[in-house]
């Protein structure tokens, strides 16, 4: 968020809520203290709109936020639990959500893949684990490439978050690979020409 130039979080959030036109929107808490996280969640929720409060699965000390999740969802405040990486984390929290309050579990599939592990099994099993919880949705987070959208669909994830640069690349869907190859060669050629590189004898 800092990278995006956001200076006033409350004003930014209110502007984003206006633009979102009551579509769901997730806002994060900043505190590392569990009690303060809950308070921040309640404040953000009071800003209105179709908000989900982003609560990390633990604080930086590794303390579980399950009681924060329980208290907020018991008061009908929707949460988006983030930075989930393991099936154990999913298992440890699924019974802490109020069953009548919608909530999202964000599993960081892209970062799991960054570690060299295929995230598909974790996503598929997570989907199975929450299948009888009608209020819970599984989110494929930290998307790295367009292919992830189709992997997320295959894993039976309900949602995928896609950054704008990857969303732009969906224009390439169904592109003829021979044409793509030719364009790529042309790009290489143009780059070398612009750089004025020459290989001398």
């Amino acid at each position: 968020m800092y990278k995006s130039g956001v200076k006033d979080y409350k004003q930014f959030s209110k502007d984003a809520l206006k633009l979102s036109n009551n579509l769901p929107i997730s806002f994060e808490v900043f505190s590392d203290d569990l009690k303060e996280m809950e308070t921040e969640g309640r404040i953000i929720n009071s800003w209105g709109g179709n908000s989900y409060i982003k609560i990390p699965i633990t604080n930086t000390k590794g303390e579980s936020t399950k009681e924060v999740i329980q208290k907020l969802t018991n008061d009908s405040i929707k949460v988006n639990v983030t930075a989930i990486f393991t099936l154990e984390q999913v298992e440890n929290i699924i019974n802490y959500f109020d069953e009548s309050t919608p909530a999202i579990l964000s599993v960081f599939a892209g970062r799991i893949a960054d570690s060299g592990m295929d995230p598909m099994e974790i996503m598929k099993k997570s989907s199975e684990m929450i299948s009888d919880k009608k209020n819970l949705e599984l989110l494929w987070a930290s998307t790295r490439e367009v292919l992830n959208i189709f992997q997320a669909e295959e894993s039976k994830s309900d949602i995928i978050t896609v950054p704008p640069d990857i969303l732009d690349k969906t224009n390439l869907l169904n592109k003829n690979l021979n044409d793509f190859s030719l364009e790529t060669v042309q790009n290489f050629f143009d780059d070398a020409k612009n750089a004025n590189f020459k290989i001398k004898k």
Partner: protein
Amino acid sequence: MTNLNDLKIKIFLDTANLESIQQCKKNTLMLEVLQQTQA
């Protein structure tokens, strides 16, 4: 043919940039959640 509209999965925009949010509203693809941090 691969078509995003044939998928069941919901695609949410991951951005903290108001301009990106505004631009996506113009797309035909419905984006249902606007995340605030880059994951």
